[in-house]
């Protein structure tokens, strides 16, 4: 199997850079539009409930993936919840070191069966733990755009 013995040195190969120039314009969807409007206009997190499966989806969904019911029961959930898991990032997308490590957490919002992934701020990375109680910090109403970034980050709840 001669191919197995080929050298791995191809630094001399002729190479060039190219790209695939595409940009996109997305919508949040029927349920997503309402979810993000509630955050933007009222600072509230809303989920949709499936009565059949007894699940509250957050972010809200238009349908239940388990039983295929169309969901129209909207319920408010808490702006706070628990850290289900987290990571501390030291490197960026281009494999370059970050000047300041970033904490990302999966937060299950109280009163729901789902959660949001977001930054965890106003804490030392060393102090974060699974089960920590955290709350969402929203941007000022005038700054909100109906995006996940309307949440600045989550932070530990001061007891």
């Amino acid at each position: 199997m001669a191919i197995l013995n080929k050298p791995d040195k191809v630094h001399q190969a002729i190479a060039w850079h190219g790209d695939i120039p595409i940009t996109n314009r997305y919508t949040a969807g029927v349920a997503g539009e309402r979810f993000f409007r509630e955050v933007k206009e009222n600072g509230k997190f809303m989920g949709t409930r499936c009565p059949e499966c007894d699940l509250i989806y957050v972010p809200a969904t238009m349908f239940c993936e388990r039983c295929f019911a169309e969901l129209d029961e909207w319920v408010q959930v808490e702006n706070q919840g628990q850290v289900v898991t987290y990571t501390i990032l030291y490197w960026d997308l281009d494999d370059q070191p970050l000047a300041v490590p970033l904490v990302l957490a999966l937060v299950q919002l109280d009163g729901s069966d789902g959660g949001l992934v977001h930054y965890l701020g106003e804490t030392d990375p060393e102090d974060v733990y699974i089960g920590m109680e955290v709350e969402a910090v929203l941007k000022d109403p005038a700054e909100r755009e109906g995006s996940i970034l309307d949440i600045r980050h989550f932070r530990p709840i001061q007891v």
Partner: protein, 388 residues
């Protein structure tokens, strides 16, 4: 169901390298040609071709299934590309299997390829686009966070330490030292090396992760009457399974891959396996990260939940242990050209069960093995059981 028996009768594999001179087409050609040569078949004897390859953005070629078709031997043949993310490498032979089991074709060439070095400056950037465009992409995720969070949850649930998990990386990189195609085989790597490697996204460190790789692997599948004619020891595809969990990964139990269990149950039932721990002699679970091998061994029901780390520490999963796991060296050692890496696991079972694995050969004449891959938005499990 009246299904025909299907065997693997040939396999080919390029070296896994960091940056190949070959184009993706050429890598596909090299692996395909080796697989056909292995069983003395010519291209005109191939009835259909199945290709498996991961996101287009890795190779930087839009609709790369079509682009790769000629190198995969598909000229003027029935050809399809299948794709379930990282799970593709074990799904592609399943896709090939139903082409032949159905009776539609007698000989199917299955090819998997990835040329990740095309993606600049790092393929991690391409992963940004797999996350939800509304809830996740604005946060600029990278590939690692989702896995780092899953690994953290796994460690937390079972009270595991980094050392318990890093042993997998040591085992697989050492095993890969015996693989002629390996990128990262290292017979002398130690637990300390892994634990001292830089932290990327805690708890994931550099040596917990498989590397960006270029490479291709191909298999030839044949219906029973053809297999018995052209092959002295066909390796039968005894069972296949695949299963998908919710794409809302935030709503899923992160410490146990239930979708892998469901895929495994489907494959075991087809293969007539009732006691996998006794009836399976080799496992090649998907190991892009060291904790994933453990996760998957538990999903495959080869160890109790949370107990795969202990089995690893006891040496049970070593090449000469009671259940050799990733004797190939896996993705952590041989390399991770996504789809090709998954198919490499099935090729490894082919070589192992034929007794042709050379320095990697598992002792005791193993008669049955399971290969598994995982991917999409970390919620697909693909499983194949092969036997003598």
């Amino acid at each position: 169901m009246a299904m025909r028996k299907v065997a693997v009768v040939g396999a080919g594999m390029t070296r896994f390298v960091r940056r190949a001179l070959e184009t993706g087409k050429e890598l596909s050609y090299e692996a395909s040609k080796m697989a056909l040569d292995y069983c003395d078949l010519t291209l005109d004897e191939v009835d259909c071709v199945v290709h498996g390859t991961a996101p287009d953005s890795f190779d930087g070629v839009h609709m790369k299934g079509e682009y790769l078709s000629d190198g995969s031997g598909a000229w003027r043949k029935p050809y399809t590309r299948c794709y379930v993310g990282g799970g593709t490498g074990v799904f592609a032979p399943i896709h090939g299997w139903y082409h032949v089991a159905s009776g539609l074709f007698d000989i199917c060439l299955v090819v998997c390829e990835e040329k990740m070095s095309s993606c600049q400056p790092h393929p991690q950037g391409a992963f940004l686009t797999i996350f939800d465009h509304t809830t996740e992409r604005p946060l600029k995720p990278n590939l690692l966070w989702i896995f780092a969070m899953e690994m953290n949850r796994y460690m937390h649930t079972y009270g595991l330490k980094k050392e318990d998990i890093a042993l997998v990386s040591v085992k697989n990189k050492r095993n890969a030292a015996d693989h002629p195609c390996s990128l990262l085989g290292d017979a002398n790597i130690t637990l300390q090396d892994v634990l001292n490697s830089e932290v990327l996204a805690w708890p994931v460190q550099r040596l917990d992760v498989s590397p960006v790789t270029d490479g291709a692997v191909a298999l030839v599948l044949a219906a029973e009457h053809v297999a018995r004619r052209i092959c002295d020891k066909p390796i039968w595809i005894e069972g296949v399974g695949w299963n998908l969990d919710t794409a809302y990964w935030t709503n899923r139990d992160l410490c146990y891959p239930r979708y892998v269990e469901k895929a495994a149950r489907m494959a075991y039932e087809m293969a007539g396996i009732t006691e996998p721990r006794k009836q399976i002699h080799i496992a090649e679970p998907y190991d892009p990260f060291d904790y994933k091998e453990l996760h998957h061994l538990e999903g495959l029901m080869l160890f109790d939940r949370g107990k795969a780390p202990e089995a690893t520490a006891l040496g049970i999963t070593q090449r000469n242990g009671d259940l050799p796991v990733c004797p190939s060296g896996g993705l952590l050692g041989v390399g991770n050209p996504i789809a090709a890496a998954g198919l490499m696991k099935v090729a490894e079972l082919f070589w192992q069960l034929r007794g042709e694995a050379g320095a990697r050969q598992v002792p005791g004449q193993p008669r049955r093995g399971v290969a598994q891959a995982w991917g999409d938005l970390m919620q697909v499990g693909t499983v194949a059981v092969l036997g003598v």
